[in-house]
């Protein structure tokens, strides 16, 4: 796998994510929609930040911008020390490949690939040999308790098992930013808890940051901080149970 392009830059600061004055508009004229209205946000390394708020408040838009899949209309976005706004499309693709892991609400597993093959996809994208990639992916799946499901197709797995495969896929290439979009919304309480424990255990590490978009109040207890959004703005940032000594930090 290629060396992540953020390695040197990331060492220059304590913040994995730094967002300043970000706005995002969709459409134009009468159909103009302001999804984000001047958002500021910092996410230090080693933190799990949860973005919460009602539907349509801009959570997904913000996380898409931080993950490098969406360009903001205005503002500054620095992730792992790299200016995403100034970054060209090709570099942004490589940035995502090397630095970002995704856990999606709908899992987005490839239905024709086995669990191990799905988990190996980021390594295949990075140019690994198939056998090597599947071997590494299988090891991660075994640590997630899916050692006996390596050759099963997603349709042969339960929702919780599918989400664990998605987590393995998100982490297999050791990304420094993990973006989780409603990772527990399709799961029951027990599987939701297991999923969050796995994310916390494996992803929340020094040198990494995790951003979780969620509606699920049952998982707030895993957060270091919780950022509440309303109408395209962050209205409050509160310390989560993992960071209970911090005071609420509204922006």
């Amino acid at each position: 796998m290629q060396k992540p392009e953020s390695s040197d830059a990331a060492a220059t600061g304590d913040l994995a994510v730094r967002v300043r004055g970000v706005t995002k508009e969709f459409g134009s004229g009468g159909s103009l929609t302001r999804a984000l209205r001047g958002v500021d946000l910092d996410v230090p390394y080693g933190e799990m930040l949860m973005l919460v708020g009602p539907s349509g408040c801009g959570k997904t838009t913000l996380v898409s911008i931080v993950a490098g899949t969406l360009q903001p209309t205005a503002g500054e976005v620095t992730v792992l020390g790299l200016d995403l706004v100034a970054m060209g499309n090709g570099r942004k693709v490589r940035f995502r490949r090397d630095n970002v892991g995704f856990v999606f609400q709908a899992f987005n597993l490839l239905p024709a690939l086995s669990a191990a093959e799905n988990a190996a996809v980021p390594l295949l994208i990075a140019g690994w040999r198939r056998a090597d990639a599947i071997e590494v992916a299988s090891e991660i799946l075994e640590t997630l308790g899916l050692g006996d499901r390596l050759t099963n197709l997603p349709s042969e797995l339960s929702g919780g098992q599918q989400q664990r495969v998605a987590i393995a896929r998100a982490l297999v290439h050791e990304p420094r930013i993990l973006v989780c979009d409603e990772p527990t919304s399709a799961l029951d309480a027990e599987n939701g808890r297991i999923t969050m424990e796995l994310i916390e255990r494996i992803a929340v590490q020094p040198g990494r940051a995790v951003i979780v978009v969620t509606h699920d109040a049952r998982v707030y207890s895993f957060a270091d901080r919780i950022a509440s959004m309303e109408d395209g703005r962050i209205v409050s940032i509160e310390a989560g149970p993992h960071n209970s000594t911090d005071a609420a930090v509204p922006r």
Partner: protein, 378 residues
């Protein structure tokens, strides 16, 4: 990544088979119709091909194809023989006659009269009797298919008699021969007898068959014959193509076949294109996820193209295979014209390539513009 594209493609069996079906349909129709067309063209030149030996055909200037007989005066043979570079030249009669059979019925036949002395142009596949027997009085040889047409269900038997133009003909041999466009029985006999079997005309010489002297190119001899006699002289291959060109230009055959081939192309493109597009749309979130995870547009493009090529190769193989199977299976059952040269395979391959390319264009556009952020939408 191409491996992932392949797995995605065959993972959805219904869509995969739908796309392959579209390509198979087009490949089958194109290959089958083109082969039938080639088979028909082959029928038009069968008698030129069967007249093995002489490389030069001399005929009236206005002759357009092998069945377009414009008789020459017998003296033209000697004029051709007198052209420098002609090693030898012989007469060749070709015409239509009416055979009156023993039981009183009539049958139209193609009558071929071979040079009495040399029998140049004689059939090569005699399996009953002998070519030398043509030298006997009233002797004729008939082609296998013609025998079965005149005497259906009867065993092969030489010594049968029938009449042509009130002259008795005795069957001395049976031969294999390429089918003709008209599918009439073919009767071989000596030139001197052929002119008696055929309806009387002032001029009777259909063609002069000639051979160039050693070391002189046939085309050069043809040029000399034309310059010296004012007749039309063509090499064996030139005469074949002149005949084919006539049917291409002067009949509706190529247009009719072309329309069928074009419809096959259109329908195949429509089926494959629509199914391929639906397949892509169904997988659009997967493509979006791959893009979000860092797959470049270039790789996505290669993935879709590889899927299209994979479908094309499978569909082409099955379609052309079925067309060949069709040709083989119908050869023994019905007298269907079918000839599949490599050019048919190449043309079908080009058409299939165009189909899968067209079919994938919409899909390519769809996946290239898909926003990777789509994966964040529920």
């Amino acid at each position: 990544m191409l491996w992932i594209a392949w797995k995605m493609l065959i993972g959805n069996r219904v869509k995969y088979l739908g796309i392959v079906f579209g390509v198979v349909f087009a490949a089958l129709l194109i290959a089958q119709q083109a082969s039938t067309f080639c088979g028909l063209m082959l029928l038009t030149i069968s008698q030129i091909r069967d007249a093995a030996g002489p490389d030069i055909w001399v005929m009236d200037r206005k002759v357009q194809f092998v069945d377009d007989i414009k008789p020459l005066s017998d003296t033209e043979l000697f004029r051709v023989k007198g052209v420098p570079g002609v090693e030898w030249a012989v007469r060749f009669f070709k015409g239509i006659a009416r055979a009156r059979l023993e039981e009183g019925s009539y049958e139209q036949v193609i009558l071929l009269g071979l040079d009495d002395a040399t029998l140049v142009g004689a059939p090569q596949g005699i399996f009953m009797g002998s070519i030398a027997d043509l030298r006997k009085p009233d002797a004729v040889i008939i082609d296998d298919a013609g025998y079965k047409r005149i005497w259906p269900g009867e065993p092969y038997r030489i010594g049968r008699t029938f009449e042509m133009n009130d002259h008795r003909a005795v069957l001395v041999g049976i031969t294999t021969a390429s089918r003709t466009f008209q599918s009439f029985p073919i009767i071989y006999t000596r030139y001197s007898q052929a002119v008696r079997f055929a309806p009387p005309e002032r001029k009777v010489l259909s063609f002069v068959l000639a051979e160039p002297a050693a070391g002189v190119p046939s085309a050069e001899v043809c040029r000399r014959i034309e310059a010296q006699t004012g007749l039309q002289a063509l090499t064996h291959d030139q005469f074949i193509w002149k005949t084919i060109d006539y049917y291409l230009a002067k009949t509706g055959i190529p247009v009719n076949f072309g329309i069928t081939v074009f419809l096959g192309f259109l329908v195949g493109t429509a089926i494959a294109g629509q199914t391929f597009y639906l397949f892509t749309v169904e997988n659009i979130r997967q493509f979006g996820a791959l893009k979000a995870m860092g797959t470049s547009n270039w790789t996505i493009l290669l993935m879709v193209l590889s899927q299209a090529v994979q479908v094309g190769v499978v569909g082409y193989g099955i379609g052309v295979g079925l067309a060949a199977l069709f040709g083989l299976s119908t050869r023994g059952l019905v007298r269907l014209a079918f000839y599949m040269p490599w050019q048919v395979l190449a043309i079908t391959a080009a058409a299939v390539f165009a189909i899968v390319l067209l079919a994938s264009l919409l899909s390519i556009r769809r996946v290239l513009v898909v926003d990777p952020a789509i994966v964040f939408r529920g």
